[in-house]
Symmetry: C2
Subunit: 520 residues, 2 copies
């Protein structure tokens, strides 16, 4: 092999002697005139081609440079589901910045905490003026883009190629500790995820993916990234308006849509028209769908693919296509190509088929680690395996079933809520002596947050006061929908909360204590 | 970024801390029960799942090890279009050997030359017993697999992971010099090619690719590799039997088929039935289709995608989908994602849209180089650009048109023939003083090889004698179909053959000299 130049980094070898072009630039060269983005402002749908999107990104990139944003910096965006967030995502990629998409439903305190944890260099100034003002007061640097528009015109964009091993985004997940952790996802993670998803679900040049998931979640963000790699269109919907989305799914050539069970339930409840013929797949994830929901989809001929995904694995880990999802209700199928899953017993060692255990994931989509959090990283990534904390089993065919998400995780309307975080907030209230939070099953939301409280002697507090108190500290979807005041919390001998018994208490009392739904 | 372990090779980072699983092993885990291969022996079609194919590969890998074949060695296979070649390909991948697929239509001399050029460590002993015997006599080592079957049962297969920067195959191409060159294609080349092809043509889990192209060409080989990555089926047909293939294209759920123009022409000529509804795409490459052929496809509603591919770029460089191929007859569209094409003038510098020039290609699918041939590598790969020698232009939209394959290349029935190679053989004949070879247009074969000869004074030779002489030195498709004896060859002042004038001569004389077609 004497004729080959050795010693070059693999990225150069893989990409033919150079690093990889940034994805939107490459895509705009490959299919400039194809539709990239369908946006839905008040006055009807607008289309943007890949060339147009790339043009907007180049313009934005000049503004960022003029404002002082530098390669390698971490840039936070309030990730509203609108076209600007798409432009911001690919501007970060164009300039080699790391995107930190912020959940816009969080409180000021929660956002402040994430910006500090991710050591964000910049916050981008769009939308949510009050939030931005509050964050500015807390010392976060907001990029001044408007003033720099004129300067930006003179900026020459540097060439930029991608190194697949570099971080693309930091996405925060709540953790069992109650403190968010920033999962660092690389270009390579998303690149491999897009490819493996295409090979599992299929991809067609005429595909159009309806994106109603939030862009601060990996599920929404990965739709944008995949579609640019594929050269397919995304129809981006800011608000989950059931009727408007049902209308799209009847009248427009949507071929794919990602939904959480709550969304699908609400769409089915409201539907009066048939689904369009082009719809290839409803990718259903974020929480376990009920058997009833799956059955209903099968009865109505909705092509549902069930998936198990994780922020820490750049979205899909395993996905069952419609045929398998129908034949084996409840499974999420086999891991995607190059992803490996094993189930390990509490006592160590791999579980036999059918036996429960913790789900471990390894492969090219698994994150680098948690940002600036070696302890959490070491606890989660061991010998190349991601320890999900989720409980599941593999059947004899190797198809995966999830039994329970991370021990005490509550999933409500597709959002994850950790009891410990809600408990910590409530514990700060002067009237509360003890608190335990759990999730109660709910047909529409999957689960709802519920808190059992022991009140200090001689004190009292109303549910309304508790909600008001929570609003200052917790995103709306984390606030308990049910409060139950008890004399003592059900505990094990060793003082651990018995969450099973806790749920029983709520079920007994549910009728008398039930409050109206708050939109999570 | 203190929490990340740095200094790891990119391949490890990209694939989550380890090298990549070999593709068939990964695929057999992801979709064990899907159909991988449909074979067509005399007694009807047989199906093989990915799990079954992987099982056969494991068994074959044990035999190879027992026979003494070691990782990193170059293993030549007589690449007949049959299932065994598929097993051999993935066995080479499983054991980290480099596959050298041999064109079975070559003469013993030609094969001998390629085995020496590629420094093959082994030749595998299947089919073509006479050829094998001849090669053995010339000193090539033939692996003894039959005797090793018993020993093989006790062999433990080593774990093997893939490094994308390592060579997967060496595929020989003829060159302008007349000596074959072995294009070294890496795992990364094929990996990126498969991905970019999926994103251009689409891929669906139910796809079934009809493979009638030879497996010693990159076009056929890449169908096998792509399909294992995709998890889709290949229907493998050994012989190009027009009626049998037409029947398949009517009755069976074939969704994709790769053809050279000659094959498509012959299928259209013989078709009496409609094409099946599932057929998504006819990928037409290997040679420029005539305008008439394209028009006929459009008239008959055949979904033709036109492609420009090269061995040196692991197959497709640019591909136009059916809509574009119909709208702009003759174009091969834009380069695939991450592949870049530029057209340079003879005087240097990029050609303006519409202006002819040499087509240069760069990107992740471009070969490492020619095996053990630094001179040819340096002439072909300059500053990351592959100099194809093909002449073409880009239109105002950036769509590529090929005007002429490598200056004097003849493409007959999808096979490349270099005049210089045929001329060198004929020049060795005692009766021949001067010779010039060119290609003549032909509706079915695209081009046919034609030789103009100046015979030595006082000597004579018949066409039949010349053909017999050629048979000893040239593969059948390289043997001229037309001979023309002339007093002098048309030359420029500087002594270069005027190939345009040469063709004129043949056209003038064609009626009187035309011989019956030989199947190339």
């Amino acid at each position: 092999m004497s004729s080959f130049r050795d010693g070059k980094p693999l990225s150069e070898k893989v990409t033919g002697g150079k690093l990889m072009q940034d994805w939107l630039t490459a895509r705009a060269q490959a299919t400039p005139d194809k539709v990239a983005l369908i946006t839905n402002p008040g006055d009807g749908a607008h289309e943007l081609t890949f060339a147009q999107l790339a043009g907007q990104v180049r313009q934005m990139a000049r503004q960022w440079i003029a404002a002082g944003i530098e390669p390698g910096q971490r840039v936070a965006v309030l990730a509203i589901t609108w076209p600007l967030t798409v432009v911001q995502l690919f501007t970060a990629m164009r300039l080699d910045c790391v995107l930190v998409p912020i959940n816009i439903r969080l409180t000021l305190d929660e956002i402040d905490q994430q910006l500090r944890l991710a050591e964000c260099d910049w916050l981008l100034p769009y939308g949510l003026t009050d939030t931005l003002g509050g964050l500015h007061e807390r010392g976060h640097k907001i990029a001044n883009l408007d003033v720099q528009r004129k300067v930006a015109k003179k900026v020459t964009l540097p060439d930029h190629d991608i190194d697949l091993s570099e971080p693309l985004a930091i996405i925060h997940t709540s953790g069992t500790s109650g403190t968010p952790k920033g999962a660092v996802l690389t270009y390579g993670n998303f690149y491999q995820s897009a490819m493996a998803s295409a090979y599992r679900l299929g991809v067609l040049p005429e595909d159009r993916w309806l994106c109603v998931l939030p862009l601060y979640h990996v599920g929404g963000l990965s739709i944008l990234i995949r579609s640019v790699l594929y050269g397919t269109a995304v129809d981006l919907v800011e608000k989950f308006d059931v009727d408007a989305i049902n209308r799209k799914l009847t009248e427009e050539p949507i071929t794919l849509v990602s939904l959480v069970p709550t969304m699908l339930y609400r769409l089915l409840e409201a539907r009066t028209q048939p689904w369009n013929d082009q719809l290839r797949l409803v990718l259903l994830g974020g929480a376990a769908p009920s058997a009833e929901l799956l059955q209903r989809c099968h009865d109505e001929g909705v092509p549902v693919a069930t998936t198990y995904g994780l922020t820490e694995a750049a979205s899909q880990v395993a996905t069952a296509g419609p045929e398998l999802a129908r034949r084996k209700p409840g499974t999420v199928g086999k891991p995607l190509l190059f992803t490996q899953v094993k189930v390990v017993k509490e006592t160590g060692g791999e579980a036999k088929p059918g036996d429960y255990g913790e789900v471990l994931v390894s492969g090219p989509t698994v994150m680098q680690g948690y940002y600036n959090n070696p302890d959490a990283t070491d606890k989660t990534l061991k010998n190349g395996w991601l320890h999900t904390g989720d409980i599941g089993y593999l059947d004899d065919d190797g198809d995966l079933f999830l039994v329970q998400r991370r021990s005490d995780l509550i999933v409500t309307g597709g959002e994850n809520v950790y009891p410990v975080e809600v408990e910590a907030v409530l514990r700060g209230h002067p009237a509360i002596k003890e608190v335990a939070v759990t999730g109660l099953d709910h047909p529409e939301w999957g689960q709802q947050v519920a808190a059992a409280l022991v009140i200090n002697d001689n004190m009292s507090v109303s549910d309304e006061d508790l909600i008001t108190y929570c609003r200052d500290h917790l995103a709306g979807y984390k606030i308990p929908r049910h409060f139950l005041k008890v004399g003592a919390l059900p505990q094990t001998g060793s003082g651990k909360i018995q969450r099973g018994a806790l749920r029983e208490l709520f079920i007994e009392q549910q009728n008398s204590h039930q409050r109206g739904d708050l939109s999570p």
